[in-house]
Amino acid sequence: MIEARNLTRRYGRTVAVDALSFEVRPGSVTGFLGPNGSGKSTTMRLILGLDRPHAGEARIGGRRYRELRWPLREVGALLEAKAFHPGRSARSHLAALATANAIPRARVDEVLEQVGLAGAAGRRAGTFSLGMGQRLGVAAALLGDPAVLLLDEPVNGLDPEGVRWIRELLRSLAAQGRTVFVSSHLIAEMALTAERLVVIGRGRLLADTTVAELSAGSGSLEDAFFRLTGATADYRANPAAEAAS
């Protein structure tokens, strides 16, 4: 269970996250949707305690991230950017994280196997493709066998086979009763992966609903999304200009 209560964060004069409150429940994949710049990554960073909120708070299983006893055993996170040193092997990267939270060393090889990196475990991670880097990030998230998973744009850089792999992985993790919170700007992908949705625009909550409910009133989830976020997008191509060109 992830709870955001009145979460607020400004950067200079820009309000990135604006009094955001929502709950992410266990047992299903919850998609986190919003246009670029709507505050999805900032919200994820606030939940993980990487950035500080100016107001409000985020709790995981009732506690703030900083209060967790063995954080990686409770929460697994994949953030948008790479989070490993290019000179270190995938195995060493995971071994360092494992030992920090008293996770058995055998678990490192298990997750490497699970994400399909067993054959590249000893290679310097700097030589990895974007997709392999994402897989290493997923391995790090799964390392502590956590009940809560946060993934920021996990399908970025993955080939079609990788996209399908992530989708099935997330659904199976949720089916095991875990809380799975996954951000994306790819609506079609979310329609396939998620059951629940949290939609934000300009840092504000636009909808906390299910995929079925949101698409019910519109032709498709995409149409529903545009109807919902239409007023909040920071920029939009001018249809008249496009037609003229």
Binding site: R45, L48, G49, L50, D51, R52, Y65, R66, L68, R69, W70, P71, L72, R73, V75, A77, L79, A81, K82, A83, F84, H85, P86, G87, R88, S89, S92, H93, A95, A96, L97, T99, A100, N101, A102, I103, P104, R107, A140, G144, D145
Partner: protein
């Protein structure tokens, strides 16, 4: 997988930092070059030592000054590399109590650079002893002040390395932090050496050269009036330790307060 009782602490953070430090090839190359440079330069200076009345031990330790730069830079990079690569987010996700991360880095890096520094310092001294010529008598570790000079010089590597680590935590960008380190340790020493003699004695590199690696108080001969009063070995070591501690405390304070 059942979680053990208790909570992550310094022991877990230290183990993590040890794996991180040793799993980068650049760590070992840098330390090897540091030690080889320290010994090589010492031997070269020793071979050209003709004045038997000078401080031959100090000459043998002449390679420490350039060697220190590498440990300082390695210290900087062990922090800034986390930011440039994004590893810092994974690190802080595992150990959210941030000062603990910097403390663990200081423990691991301080221990490794102390060992390497002592090895480099003693090896340089013994190598110079074996290669002196021009009839210069080789100093022995039992001679007055010699063991102390060699030992505290080795500790100098560790303290400059920790200073670099602290600066890395404060500045966060590799190039800028290395710039601050070089400016503070090397360039500043030259400027103050010319402009303000009283302050010069407190410049890190002059402490290493004139307080740590000497067996007797440095005098300036006939130009004594223009020579600063250099610190004793103990005071010099204390001042260097203070610099390292200040940089680490400031770095830890900022690490805990800033966005990662």
């Amino acid at each position: 997988m059942t979680a053990p009782s208790g909570r992550y602490g310094l022991a877990q953070a230290v183990r993590m930092e040890w794996i991180k430090l040793r799993s980068l090839r650049s760590t070992w190359w840098t330390l090897l070059v540091t030690a080889a440079g320290t010994v090589g330069i010492g031997v070269a200076v020793g071979l050209n030592t003709r004045d038997a009345s000078g401080d031959v031990t100090n000459n043998a330790l002449a390679g420490v000054v350039p060697g220190l730069l590498l440990t300082g830079v390695l210290g900087v990079l062990s922090m800034t590399g986390e930011y440039s690569s994004g590893t810092i987010r994974a690190t802080l996700a595992a150990i959210p109590r941030r000062p603990l991360v910097l403390l663990a880095k200081a423990v691991v890096f301080g221990f490794v650079t102390l060992l390497v520094g002592e090895a480099a310092s003693f090896t340089a001294f013994l190598a110079v002893r074996a290669t002196l010529r021009h009839g210069v008598a080789a100093p022995a570790l039992g001679d007055p002040g010699v063991l102390r000079a060699v030992a505290v010089t080795g500790a100098g590597f560790c303290l400059i390395g920790l200073l670099g680590l602290g600066l890395g935590a404060i500045v966060r960008h590799s190039a800028a932090a290395v710039g601050v380190l070089v400016a503070g340790v090397y360039v500043g020493a030259q400027a103050f050496g010319i402009l303000a003699h009283g302050v010069a004695a407190y410049m890190p590199i002059l402490i290493v050269e004139n307080s740590l690696s000497t067996t007797r108080p440095v005098t300036c001969g006939t130009g004594a009036a223009s020579c600063p009063d250099f610190l004793s070995a103990g005071a010099g070591l204390g001042v260097l330790a203070l610099y390292a501690a200040l940089a680490l405390v400031a770095g830890g304070w900022l690490l805990a307060r800033r966005d990662a």
